[in-house]
Symmetry: C2
Subunit: 304 residues, 2 copies
Amino acid sequence: MEPFDLYIVGCGSANPTQKHRPACQVLSTRGKLFMIDCGEGTQMRFARMGLSMKRVGHIFISHTHGDHCMGLPGLICTMGLLGRTSQLHIHAPQELEPFLQTSLQTFCPDLDFQVQFHAVDTRAHQIVHEDRSVEVWSLPLHHRVPCCGYLFKEKPGLPHIIRDMIDMYEIPVSQINNIKAGMDWTLPDGTLIPNSRLTTPPSPTRSFAYCSDTAPSRSLVPLVHGVDLLFHEATFPKDEELRARLTAHSTSTEAAQIAKEAEVKRLCIGHYSSRIKDESLLLHEAQTIFPNTIAADEGMHVKI
Amino acid sequence: MEPFDLYIVGCGSANPTQKHRPACQVLSTRGKLFMIDCGEGTQMRFARMGLSMKRVGHIFISHTHGDHCMGLPGLICTMGLLGRTSQLHIHAPQELEPFLQTSLQTFCPDLDFQVQFHAVDTRAHQIVHEDRSVEVWSLPLHHRVPCCGYLFKEKPGLPHIIRDMIDMYEIPVSQINNIKAGMDWTLPDGTLIPNSRLTTPPSPTRSFAYCSDTAPSRSLVPLVHGVDLLFHEATFPKDEELRARLTAHSTSTEAAQIAKEAEVKRLCIGHYSSRIKDESLLLHEAQTIFPNTIAADEGMHVKI
Protein backbone atom coordinates (compact mmCIF):
# COMPACT_ATOMS: atom_id res chain seq x y z
CA MET A 1 0.00 0.00 0.00
CA GLU A 2 1.24 3.50 -0.84
CA PRO A 3 2.35 5.46 2.22
CA PHE A 4 -0.01 8.05 3.63
CA ASP A 5 2.24 9.29 6.40
CA LEU A 6 2.23 12.27 8.66
CA TYR A 7 5.42 13.96 9.90
CA ILE A 8 5.29 16.33 12.87
CA VAL A 9 7.87 19.04 12.17
CA GLY A 10 6.71 21.32 14.97
CA CYS A 11 3.87 21.09 17.50
CA GLY A 12 4.39 24.03 19.86
CA SER A 13 2.38 27.24 20.02
CA ALA A 14 3.06 30.98 19.79
CA ASN A 15 5.59 31.42 22.57
CA PRO A 16 8.61 29.29 21.62
CA THR A 17 10.07 26.88 24.15
CA GLN A 18 13.20 24.76 24.36
CA LYS A 19 11.07 21.68 23.74
CA HIS A 20 8.65 22.53 20.96
CA ARG A 21 8.85 24.26 17.60
CA PRO A 22 6.26 26.39 15.82
CA ALA A 23 3.56 24.58 13.85
CA CYS A 24 4.39 22.52 10.78
CA GLN A 25 3.22 19.12 9.60
CA VAL A 26 3.86 17.22 6.40
CA LEU A 27 1.63 14.62 4.77
CA SER A 28 3.56 12.29 2.49
CA THR A 29 1.77 10.29 -0.16
CA ARG A 30 2.70 8.89 -3.58
CA GLY A 31 6.01 10.74 -3.69
CA LYS A 32 4.52 14.11 -2.84
CA LEU A 33 4.78 16.11 0.35
CA PHE A 34 1.91 18.37 1.40
CA MET A 35 3.04 20.90 3.97
CA ILE A 36 0.54 22.20 6.49
CA ASP A 37 1.55 25.40 8.27
CA CYS A 38 5.12 26.64 8.22
CA GLY A 39 6.31 28.22 11.47
CA GLU A 40 9.67 29.94 11.92
CA GLY A 41 12.59 27.57 11.52
CA THR A 42 10.68 25.01 9.43
CA GLN A 43 13.37 24.89 6.74
CA MET A 44 16.02 23.88 9.29
CA ARG A 45 13.82 21.22 10.92
CA PHE A 46 12.74 19.94 7.54
CA ALA A 47 16.24 19.08 6.41
CA ARG A 48 17.02 17.56 9.81
CA MET A 49 14.05 15.17 9.45
CA GLY A 50 15.35 13.96 6.11
CA LEU A 51 12.45 15.50 4.18
CA SER A 52 13.13 16.97 0.75
CA MET A 53 11.89 20.47 -0.08
CA LYS A 54 11.84 19.49 -3.75
CA ARG A 55 8.90 17.21 -3.16
CA VAL A 56 6.77 20.00 -1.67
CA GLY A 57 4.41 21.36 -4.33
CA HIS A 58 1.60 22.69 -2.12
CA ILE A 59 1.65 24.43 1.24
CA PHE A 60 -1.55 24.91 3.22
CA ILE A 61 -1.60 27.67 5.85
CA SER A 62 -4.30 27.70 8.52
CA HIS A 63 -4.11 31.34 9.63
CA THR A 64 -1.91 34.40 9.90
CA HIS A 65 -0.51 33.94 13.37
CA GLY A 66 3.25 34.02 13.14
CA ASP A 67 3.84 30.58 14.64
CA HIS A 68 1.96 29.11 11.66
CA CYS A 69 3.56 30.92 8.75
CA MET A 70 6.69 32.93 9.55
CA GLY A 71 8.88 30.17 8.13
CA LEU A 72 7.55 30.68 4.59
CA PRO A 73 9.98 33.38 3.35
CA GLY A 74 13.05 31.43 4.46
CA LEU A 75 11.74 28.17 3.04
CA ILE A 76 10.94 29.74 -0.31
CA CYS A 77 14.30 31.55 -0.59
CA THR A 78 16.14 28.33 0.19
CA MET A 79 14.11 26.47 -2.44
CA GLY A 80 15.39 29.12 -4.84
CA LEU A 81 19.01 28.68 -3.73
CA LEU A 82 18.64 24.93 -4.24
CA GLY A 83 17.74 25.53 -7.88
CA ARG A 84 14.01 24.89 -7.85
CA THR A 85 12.16 25.57 -11.09
CA SER A 86 8.74 23.99 -10.47
CA GLN A 87 5.80 26.09 -9.36
CA LEU A 88 4.99 26.30 -5.65
CA HIS A 89 1.39 26.72 -4.53
CA ILE A 90 0.50 28.46 -1.29
CA HIS A 91 -3.07 28.02 -0.07
CA ALA A 92 -3.90 30.40 2.76
CA PRO A 93 -6.37 32.95 4.07
CA GLN A 94 -6.30 36.16 2.01
CA GLU A 95 -4.76 38.00 5.00
CA LEU A 96 -1.42 36.27 4.35
CA GLU A 97 -0.86 37.63 0.86
CA PRO A 98 0.69 41.04 1.71
CA PHE A 99 3.28 39.40 3.98
CA LEU A 100 4.05 36.75 1.38
CA GLN A 101 4.39 39.19 -1.51
CA THR A 102 6.43 41.73 0.48
CA SER A 103 8.75 38.96 1.68
CA LEU A 104 9.32 37.66 -1.84
CA GLN A 105 9.87 41.20 -3.13
CA THR A 106 12.37 41.95 -0.36
CA PHE A 107 14.30 38.70 -0.18
CA CYS A 108 13.98 36.83 -3.45
CA PRO A 109 12.60 38.95 -6.30
CA ASP A 110 14.42 36.83 -8.90
CA LEU A 111 13.23 33.31 -8.15
CA ASP A 112 13.45 30.81 -11.00
CA PHE A 113 10.05 29.42 -10.04
CA GLN A 114 6.60 30.85 -9.64
CA VAL A 115 4.95 31.16 -6.25
CA GLN A 116 1.22 30.93 -6.82
CA PHE A 117 -0.98 32.26 -4.02
CA HIS A 118 -4.46 30.77 -3.64
CA ALA A 119 -6.78 32.58 -1.24
CA VAL A 120 -8.81 30.13 0.84
CA ASP A 121 -12.28 31.06 2.07
CA THR A 122 -11.94 30.07 5.72
CA ARG A 123 -15.73 30.06 6.23
CA ALA A 124 -16.40 27.46 3.53
CA HIS A 125 -15.99 23.69 3.48
CA GLN A 126 -14.88 23.10 -0.07
CA ILE A 127 -12.16 21.55 -2.19
CA VAL A 128 -9.11 23.82 -2.28
CA HIS A 129 -6.85 21.44 -4.18
CA GLU A 130 -7.27 18.20 -6.07
CA ASP A 131 -4.94 15.95 -7.99
CA ARG A 132 -4.94 12.33 -9.12
CA SER A 133 -4.36 11.02 -5.62
CA VAL A 134 -5.98 13.38 -3.12
CA GLU A 135 -8.65 15.95 -2.49
CA VAL A 136 -7.87 18.70 0.01
CA TRP A 137 -10.86 20.36 1.68
CA SER A 138 -10.97 23.46 3.84
CA LEU A 139 -12.44 23.06 7.34
CA PRO A 140 -13.85 26.24 8.92
CA LEU A 141 -12.40 26.77 12.41
CA HIS A 142 -13.14 29.26 15.19
CA HIS A 143 -10.14 31.32 16.16
CA ARG A 144 -9.25 34.94 16.82
CA VAL A 145 -8.44 35.58 13.15
CA PRO A 146 -9.80 33.92 9.97
CA CYS A 147 -8.64 30.34 10.23
CA CYS A 148 -9.29 26.98 8.64
CA GLY A 149 -8.11 23.43 8.94
CA TYR A 150 -7.53 21.06 6.04
CA LEU A 151 -8.95 17.63 5.28
CA PHE A 152 -6.89 15.34 3.05
CA LYS A 153 -8.95 12.59 1.41
CA GLU A 154 -7.14 9.96 -0.57
CA LYS A 155 -8.82 9.07 -3.86
CA PRO A 156 -9.47 5.38 -4.57
CA GLY A 157 -6.56 3.73 -6.34
CA LEU A 158 -6.89 1.09 -9.05
CA PRO A 159 -7.68 -2.55 -8.26
CA HIS A 160 -4.68 -4.79 -7.62
CA ILE A 161 -4.00 -7.42 -10.26
CA ILE A 162 -3.59 -11.02 -9.08
CA ARG A 163 -0.18 -11.85 -10.48
CA ASP A 164 -0.77 -15.63 -10.45
CA MET A 165 -3.93 -15.36 -12.56
CA ILE A 166 -2.24 -13.02 -15.05
CA ASP A 167 0.55 -15.58 -15.43
CA MET A 168 -1.84 -18.55 -15.67
CA TYR A 169 -3.90 -17.00 -18.46
CA GLU A 170 -0.73 -15.66 -20.12
CA ILE A 171 -2.17 -12.13 -20.27
CA PRO A 172 0.42 -9.83 -21.93
CA VAL A 173 1.91 -6.92 -19.95
CA SER A 174 0.38 -4.50 -22.45
CA GLN A 175 -3.08 -5.41 -21.14
CA ILE A 176 -2.39 -4.92 -17.42
CA ASN A 177 -3.66 -1.34 -17.38
CA ASN A 178 -6.86 -2.40 -19.14
CA ILE A 179 -7.37 -5.19 -16.61
CA LYS A 180 -6.80 -2.71 -13.77
CA ALA A 181 -9.36 -0.45 -15.41
CA GLY A 182 -11.98 -3.25 -15.21
CA MET A 183 -11.69 -5.18 -18.51
CA ASP A 184 -12.55 -8.90 -18.59
CA TRP A 185 -10.23 -11.26 -20.48
CA THR A 186 -11.14 -13.64 -23.31
CA LEU A 187 -9.04 -16.74 -23.75
CA PRO A 188 -8.08 -17.98 -27.28
CA ASP A 189 -10.85 -20.63 -26.98
CA GLY A 190 -13.44 -17.93 -26.37
CA THR A 191 -13.82 -18.48 -22.63
CA LEU A 192 -14.49 -15.20 -20.78
CA ILE A 193 -12.55 -14.64 -17.54
CA PRO A 194 -14.43 -12.03 -15.51
CA ASN A 195 -12.35 -9.13 -14.15
CA SER A 196 -13.24 -10.14 -10.60
CA ARG A 197 -11.11 -13.29 -11.01
CA LEU A 198 -8.10 -11.23 -12.14
CA THR A 199 -8.11 -8.43 -9.57
CA THR A 200 -8.68 -7.64 -5.93
CA PRO A 201 -10.35 -4.39 -4.84
CA PRO A 202 -8.24 -1.24 -4.50
CA SER A 203 -6.71 -0.47 -1.13
CA PRO A 204 -9.11 1.38 1.19
CA THR A 205 -8.77 5.16 0.99
CA ARG A 206 -7.43 7.08 3.93
CA SER A 207 -8.07 10.53 5.33
CA PHE A 208 -6.38 13.02 7.61
CA ALA A 209 -7.82 16.19 9.12
CA TYR A 210 -5.71 19.01 10.53
CA CYS A 211 -7.59 21.30 12.91
CA SER A 212 -5.45 24.03 14.45
CA ASP A 213 -5.94 26.64 15.87
CA THR A 214 -9.52 26.47 17.08
CA ALA A 215 -11.93 26.72 19.93
CA PRO A 216 -13.93 23.47 20.12
CA SER A 217 -16.41 23.56 17.27
CA ARG A 218 -19.48 21.31 17.01
CA SER A 219 -19.85 22.18 13.35
CA LEU A 220 -16.54 20.43 12.71
CA VAL A 221 -17.93 17.05 13.80
CA PRO A 222 -19.76 16.06 10.60
CA LEU A 223 -16.92 17.40 8.43
CA VAL A 224 -14.27 15.15 9.96
CA HIS A 225 -16.56 12.20 10.66
CA GLY A 226 -14.74 8.88 10.54
CA VAL A 227 -11.34 10.19 9.41
CA ASP A 228 -8.41 7.86 9.96
CA LEU A 229 -6.43 10.50 11.83
CA LEU A 230 -7.60 13.77 13.31
CA PHE A 231 -5.01 16.26 14.46
CA HIS A 232 -6.83 18.56 16.85
CA GLU A 233 -5.10 21.27 18.81
CA ALA A 234 -5.08 20.85 22.59
CA THR A 235 -3.27 23.98 23.68
CA PHE A 236 -4.30 23.70 27.35
CA PRO A 237 -5.12 21.06 29.95
CA LYS A 238 -8.69 20.60 31.17
CA ASP A 239 -8.32 22.94 34.14
CA GLU A 240 -7.37 25.88 31.93
CA GLU A 241 -10.69 25.94 30.11
CA LEU A 242 -11.16 29.61 30.91
CA ARG A 243 -7.85 30.48 29.31
CA ALA A 244 -8.82 28.34 26.31
CA ARG A 245 -12.06 30.34 25.94
CA LEU A 246 -10.25 33.67 26.19
CA THR A 247 -7.71 32.74 23.53
CA ALA A 248 -10.05 30.72 21.23
CA HIS A 249 -8.16 27.49 21.80
CA SER A 250 -9.17 23.99 22.96
CA THR A 251 -8.37 21.89 26.00
CA SER A 252 -7.26 18.27 25.79
CA THR A 253 -10.69 17.01 26.86
CA GLU A 254 -12.44 19.20 24.33
CA ALA A 255 -10.25 17.85 21.54
CA ALA A 256 -11.04 14.31 22.67
CA GLN A 257 -14.76 15.08 22.81
CA ILE A 258 -14.70 16.24 19.17
CA ALA A 259 -12.82 13.06 18.19
CA LYS A 260 -15.37 10.92 20.02
CA GLU A 261 -18.41 12.62 18.54
CA ALA A 262 -16.88 12.51 15.06
CA GLU A 263 -16.09 8.80 15.52
CA VAL A 264 -12.61 9.27 14.08
CA LYS A 265 -10.25 6.30 14.10
CA ARG A 266 -7.38 8.04 15.85
CA LEU A 267 -6.70 11.40 17.46
CA CYS A 268 -3.39 13.24 17.64
CA ILE A 269 -3.17 16.24 19.98
CA GLY A 270 -0.60 19.05 19.90
CA HIS A 271 -0.05 22.83 19.68
CA TYR A 272 0.96 22.80 23.32
CA SER A 273 1.01 26.00 25.33
CA SER A 274 4.49 27.06 26.43
CA ARG A 275 3.15 26.73 30.01
CA ILE A 276 2.80 22.93 29.66
CA LYS A 277 5.61 21.18 31.49
CA ASP A 278 4.46 17.62 30.80
CA GLU A 279 2.31 16.74 27.78
CA SER A 280 1.49 13.31 29.22
CA LEU A 281 -1.06 15.06 31.45
CA LEU A 282 -2.91 16.30 28.36
CA LEU A 283 -2.61 12.89 26.75
CA HIS A 284 -4.12 11.14 29.77
CA GLU A 285 -6.95 13.63 29.98
CA ALA A 286 -7.75 13.07 26.30
CA GLN A 287 -7.44 9.28 26.54
CA THR A 288 -10.01 9.22 29.34
CA ILE A 289 -12.56 10.37 26.77
CA PHE A 290 -11.05 9.03 23.55
CA PRO A 291 -8.62 6.16 24.24
CA ASN A 292 -7.06 6.02 20.77
CA THR A 293 -5.20 9.31 21.24
CA ILE A 294 -1.53 10.04 20.66
CA ALA A 295 0.46 13.13 21.60
CA ALA A 296 2.39 14.91 18.85
CA ASP A 297 6.11 15.42 19.28
CA GLU A 298 8.79 16.93 17.04
CA GLY A 299 10.20 14.40 14.59
CA MET A 300 7.25 12.03 15.01
CA HIS A 301 6.23 9.94 11.99
CA VAL A 302 2.68 8.55 11.99
CA LYS A 303 1.60 5.96 9.46
CA ILE A 304 -2.04 6.51 8.57
CA MET B 1 35.66 46.34 34.51
CA GLU B 2 32.20 46.36 32.94
CA PRO B 3 31.67 43.51 30.50
CA PHE B 4 31.91 44.27 26.78
CA ASP B 5 31.07 40.79 25.57
CA LEU B 6 30.10 39.33 22.24
CA TYR B 7 27.72 36.37 21.88
CA ILE B 8 27.57 34.44 18.62
CA VAL B 9 23.93 33.38 18.18
CA GLY B 10 24.36 32.27 14.57
CA CYS B 11 27.30 32.32 12.16
CA GLY B 12 26.12 30.43 9.08
CA SER B 13 25.15 31.89 5.71
CA ALA B 14 22.13 31.82 3.42
CA ASN B 15 21.70 28.11 2.91
CA PRO B 16 20.98 26.61 6.33
CA THR B 17 22.96 23.62 7.52
CA GLN B 18 22.71 21.21 10.43
CA LYS B 19 25.73 22.90 11.99
CA HIS B 20 25.23 26.63 11.63
CA ARG B 21 22.39 29.07 12.13
CA PRO B 22 21.58 32.28 10.24
CA ALA B 23 23.42 35.43 11.29
CA CYS B 24 22.92 36.98 14.70
CA GLN B 25 25.35 38.41 17.22
CA VAL B 26 24.78 40.21 20.50
CA LEU B 27 27.06 42.73 22.17
CA SER B 28 26.47 42.95 25.90
CA THR B 29 27.60 45.98 27.86
CA ARG B 30 26.45 47.75 31.01
CA GLY B 31 23.26 45.71 31.27
CA LYS B 32 22.22 46.33 27.68
CA LEU B 33 22.19 43.92 24.74
CA PHE B 34 22.78 45.26 21.23
CA MET B 35 21.60 42.78 18.64
CA ILE B 36 23.33 42.70 15.27
CA ASP B 37 21.41 40.93 12.51
CA CYS B 38 18.51 38.63 13.29
CA GLY B 39 18.27 35.55 11.09
CA GLU B 40 15.41 33.05 11.14
CA GLY B 41 15.15 31.22 14.46
CA THR B 42 17.01 33.87 16.47
CA GLN B 43 14.31 34.02 19.15
CA MET B 44 14.67 30.29 19.87
CA ARG B 45 18.48 30.42 19.97
CA PHE B 46 18.40 33.54 22.09
CA ALA B 47 16.46 31.94 24.92
CA ARG B 48 18.63 28.83 24.72
CA MET B 49 21.77 30.94 25.25
CA GLY B 50 20.30 32.44 28.39
CA LEU B 51 20.02 35.90 26.86
CA SER B 52 17.03 38.05 27.80
CA MET B 53 14.97 39.74 25.08
CA LYS B 54 13.96 42.40 27.60
CA ARG B 55 17.48 43.80 27.60
CA VAL B 56 17.48 44.33 23.83
CA GLY B 57 16.67 47.95 23.06
CA HIS B 58 18.39 48.34 19.69
CA ILE B 59 18.74 45.95 16.75
CA PHE B 60 21.16 46.70 13.91
CA ILE B 61 20.54 44.99 10.58
CA SER B 62 23.30 44.86 7.97
CA HIS B 63 21.24 44.17 4.85
CA THR B 64 18.05 42.67 3.49
CA HIS B 65 19.17 39.16 2.76
CA GLY B 66 16.87 36.76 4.58
CA ASP B 67 19.55 35.05 6.63
CA HIS B 68 20.25 38.41 8.30
CA CYS B 69 16.74 39.59 9.18
CA MET B 70 13.97 37.01 8.76
CA GLY B 71 13.92 36.39 12.50
CA LEU B 72 12.70 39.92 13.26
CA PRO B 73 8.91 39.36 13.02
CA GLY B 74 9.00 36.35 15.34
CA LEU B 75 11.28 38.04 17.83
CA ILE B 76 9.11 41.16 17.97
CA CYS B 77 5.84 39.19 18.33
CA THR B 78 7.34 37.17 21.16
CA MET B 79 8.55 40.34 22.90
CA GLY B 80 4.91 41.42 22.75
CA LEU B 81 3.67 38.12 24.18
CA LEU B 82 6.16 38.50 27.02
CA GLY B 83 4.58 41.81 27.98
CA ARG B 84 7.16 44.28 26.69
CA THR B 85 6.24 47.94 26.93
CA SER B 86 9.55 49.71 26.19
CA GLN B 87 10.32 51.03 22.72
CA LEU B 88 12.37 48.87 20.36
CA HIS B 89 14.66 50.50 17.83
CA ILE B 90 15.50 48.84 14.52
CA HIS B 91 18.39 50.34 12.56
CA ALA B 92 18.56 48.99 9.04
CA PRO B 93 18.85 49.86 5.37
CA GLN B 94 15.68 51.53 4.09
CA GLU B 95 14.95 48.45 1.97
CA LEU B 96 13.91 46.54 5.10
CA GLU B 97 11.06 48.80 6.11
CA PRO B 98 8.26 47.36 3.90
CA PHE B 99 8.95 43.84 5.19
CA LEU B 100 9.08 45.03 8.78
CA GLN B 101 5.89 47.09 8.59
CA THR B 102 3.94 44.42 6.68
CA SER B 103 5.04 41.79 9.19
CA LEU B 104 3.97 43.88 12.17
CA GLN B 105 0.66 44.70 10.48
CA THR B 106 0.02 41.03 9.70
CA PHE B 107 1.19 39.37 12.89
CA CYS B 108 1.13 41.85 15.74
CA PRO B 109 -0.83 45.03 14.94
CA ASP B 110 -1.65 45.57 18.64
CA LEU B 111 1.75 45.58 20.30
CA ASP B 112 1.99 47.35 23.64
CA PHE B 113 5.32 48.85 22.60
CA GLN B 114 6.52 51.00 19.76
CA VAL B 115 8.83 49.65 17.08
CA GLN B 116 10.84 52.58 15.78
CA PHE B 117 12.48 52.11 12.41
CA HIS B 118 15.65 54.09 11.68
CA ALA B 119 16.87 54.01 8.07
CA VAL B 120 20.65 53.69 7.90
CA ASP B 121 22.56 55.21 5.00
CA THR B 122 24.75 52.24 4.07
CA ARG B 123 27.14 54.44 2.05
CA ALA B 124 28.03 56.71 4.98
CA HIS B 125 30.33 56.21 7.94
CA GLN B 126 28.45 58.03 10.67
CA ILE B 127 26.96 57.63 14.13
CA VAL B 128 23.65 55.78 13.93
CA HIS B 129 23.10 55.48 17.66
CA GLU B 130 24.64 56.92 20.79
CA ASP B 131 23.94 56.61 24.46
CA ARG B 132 25.88 57.20 27.68
CA SER B 133 28.07 54.16 27.18
CA VAL B 134 28.55 53.58 23.45
CA GLU B 135 28.64 55.11 20.01
CA VAL B 136 27.48 52.93 17.11
CA TRP B 137 28.84 53.84 13.69
CA SER B 138 27.81 52.53 10.29
CA LEU B 139 30.54 50.94 8.17
CA PRO B 140 29.93 50.95 4.39
CA LEU B 141 30.36 47.44 2.95
CA HIS B 142 30.40 46.06 -0.59
CA HIS B 143 27.74 43.44 -1.18
CA ARG B 144 25.07 42.62 -3.77
CA VAL B 145 22.47 44.79 -2.02
CA PRO B 146 22.90 47.93 0.12
CA CYS B 147 24.79 46.71 3.17
CA CYS B 148 26.69 48.11 6.11
CA GLY B 149 28.56 46.86 9.13
CA TYR B 150 28.49 48.43 12.56
CA LEU B 151 31.28 49.71 14.78
CA PHE B 152 30.62 49.81 18.52
CA LYS B 153 32.90 52.22 20.38
CA GLU B 154 32.71 52.27 24.14
CA LYS B 155 32.75 55.77 25.66
CA PRO B 156 35.28 56.49 28.38
CA GLY B 157 33.95 55.71 31.83
CA LEU B 158 34.71 57.76 34.94
CA PRO B 159 38.02 57.50 36.77
CA HIS B 160 38.20 54.87 39.50
CA ILE B 161 38.45 56.15 43.03
CA ILE B 162 41.23 54.81 45.22
CA ARG B 163 39.28 53.44 48.16
CA ASP B 164 42.21 53.59 50.58
CA MET B 165 42.81 57.30 49.92
CA ILE B 166 39.13 58.10 50.32
CA ASP B 167 39.17 56.32 53.67
CA MET B 168 42.41 57.91 54.77
CA TYR B 169 41.19 61.46 54.09
CA GLU B 170 37.73 60.61 55.43
CA ILE B 171 36.05 61.94 52.30
CA PRO B 172 32.26 61.52 52.72
CA VAL B 173 30.33 59.22 50.33
CA SER B 174 28.35 62.21 49.10
CA GLN B 175 31.52 63.58 47.49
CA ILE B 176 32.52 60.42 45.58
CA ASN B 177 30.77 61.47 42.38
CA ASN B 178 32.46 64.87 42.50
CA ILE B 179 35.85 63.22 43.00
CA LYS B 180 35.13 60.89 40.05
CA ALA B 181 34.23 63.97 38.02
CA GLY B 182 37.70 65.41 38.70
CA MET B 183 37.33 67.51 41.85
CA ASP B 184 40.33 67.93 44.16
CA TRP B 185 39.78 67.61 47.92
CA THR B 186 40.63 70.13 50.61
CA LEU B 187 41.42 68.85 54.08
CA PRO B 188 40.09 70.67 57.21
CA ASP B 189 43.59 72.19 57.67
CA GLY B 190 43.42 73.66 54.14
CA THR B 191 45.78 71.16 52.48
CA LEU B 192 44.75 70.48 48.89
CA ILE B 193 44.81 66.83 47.81
CA PRO B 194 44.98 66.79 43.99
CA ASN B 195 42.46 64.57 42.21
CA SER B 196 45.30 62.52 40.73
CA ARG B 197 46.09 61.16 44.22
CA LEU B 198 42.48 60.09 44.75
CA THR B 199 41.72 58.38 41.46
CA THR B 200 43.19 56.17 38.80
CA PRO B 201 42.37 56.72 35.12
CA PRO B 202 39.18 55.22 33.70
CA SER B 203 39.35 51.73 32.20
CA PRO B 204 40.51 51.78 28.59
CA THR B 205 37.63 51.93 26.13
CA ARG B 206 36.93 49.00 23.88
CA SER B 207 35.62 48.62 20.37
CA PHE B 208 34.00 45.97 18.20
CA ALA B 209 33.40 46.05 14.46
CA TYR B 210 30.93 43.77 12.69
CA CYS B 211 31.56 43.44 8.95
CA SER B 212 29.23 41.06 7.17
CA ASP B 213 28.39 40.50 4.35
CA THR B 214 31.08 42.04 2.21
CA ALA B 215 33.63 41.62 -0.51
CA PRO B 216 37.05 42.61 0.84
CA SER B 217 37.08 46.40 1.03
CA ARG B 218 40.22 48.50 1.34
CA SER B 219 38.14 51.50 2.37
CA LEU B 220 37.14 49.60 5.50
CA VAL B 221 40.74 49.52 6.78
CA PRO B 222 40.96 53.05 8.24
CA LEU B 223 37.43 52.80 9.67
CA VAL B 224 38.16 49.74 11.80
CA HIS B 225 41.79 50.58 12.53
CA GLY B 226 42.95 49.22 15.86
CA VAL B 227 39.60 47.83 17.06
CA ASP B 228 39.77 45.29 19.88
CA LEU B 229 37.72 42.77 17.95
CA LEU B 230 36.87 42.68 14.25
CA PHE B 231 34.24 40.23 13.08
CA HIS B 232 34.81 39.88 9.36
CA GLU B 233 32.92 37.43 7.21
CA ALA B 234 34.93 34.62 5.64
CA THR B 235 32.30 32.80 3.67
CA PHE B 236 34.79 30.81 1.59
CA PRO B 237 38.25 29.27 1.83
CA LYS B 238 41.16 30.77 -0.09
CA ASP B 239 40.75 28.50 -3.11
CA GLU B 240 37.19 29.66 -3.73
CA GLU B 241 38.20 33.25 -4.43
CA LEU B 242 36.36 33.24 -7.74
CA ARG B 243 33.13 32.22 -6.04
CA ALA B 244 33.74 34.93 -3.42
CA ARG B 245 34.05 37.53 -6.22
CA LEU B 246 30.88 36.33 -7.95
CA THR B 247 28.83 36.50 -4.75
CA ALA B 248 30.46 39.63 -3.22
CA HIS B 249 31.83 37.73 -0.25
CA SER B 250 35.33 37.34 1.25
CA THR B 251 37.69 34.43 1.68
CA SER B 252 39.42 33.59 4.94
CA THR B 253 42.71 35.06 3.74
CA GLU B 254 41.04 38.24 2.55
CA ALA B 255 39.42 38.71 5.95
CA ALA B 256 42.80 38.19 7.62
CA GLN B 257 44.46 40.66 5.24
CA ILE B 258 41.95 43.36 6.23
CA ALA B 259 42.58 42.58 9.92
CA LYS B 260 46.33 42.82 9.39
CA GLU B 261 46.21 46.08 7.45
CA ALA B 262 43.81 47.60 9.97
CA GLU B 263 46.08 46.48 12.82
CA VAL B 264 43.12 45.21 14.82
CA LYS B 265 43.80 43.40 18.11
CA ARG B 266 41.81 40.29 17.30
CA LEU B 267 39.87 38.87 14.34
CA CYS B 268 36.82 36.62 14.47
CA ILE B 269 35.76 34.96 11.21
CA GLY B 270 32.37 33.45 10.38
CA HIS B 271 29.38 33.48 7.98
CA TYR B 272 30.53 30.12 6.68
CA SER B 273 29.27 28.82 3.36
CA SER B 274 27.07 25.73 3.66
CA ARG B 275 29.73 24.02 1.51
CA ILE B 276 32.32 24.26 4.29
CA LYS B 277 32.77 20.90 5.97
CA ASP B 278 35.52 21.95 8.38
CA GLU B 279 35.94 25.55 9.53
CA SER B 280 39.39 24.83 10.94
CA LEU B 281 40.70 25.03 7.36
CA LEU B 282 39.47 28.64 7.13
CA LEU B 283 40.85 29.39 10.57
CA HIS B 284 44.32 28.08 9.66
CA GLU B 285 44.32 30.01 6.39
CA ALA B 286 43.46 33.21 8.26
CA GLN B 287 45.96 32.59 11.06
CA THR B 288 48.77 32.26 8.51
CA ILE B 289 48.25 35.96 7.75
CA PHE B 290 46.80 37.20 11.03
CA PRO B 291 47.67 34.87 13.92
CA ASN B 292 45.27 36.31 16.49
CA THR B 293 42.20 34.96 14.71
CA ILE B 294 39.35 32.94 16.19
CA ALA B 295 36.55 31.11 14.37
CA ALA B 296 32.97 31.92 15.33
CA ASP B 297 30.69 29.13 16.47
CA GLU B 298 27.11 29.05 17.74
CA GLY B 299 26.89 29.71 21.46
CA MET B 300 30.36 31.26 21.62
CA HIS B 301 30.95 34.02 24.16
CA VAL B 302 33.92 36.34 23.50
CA LYS B 303 35.12 38.75 26.18
CA ILE B 304 36.41 41.91 24.51
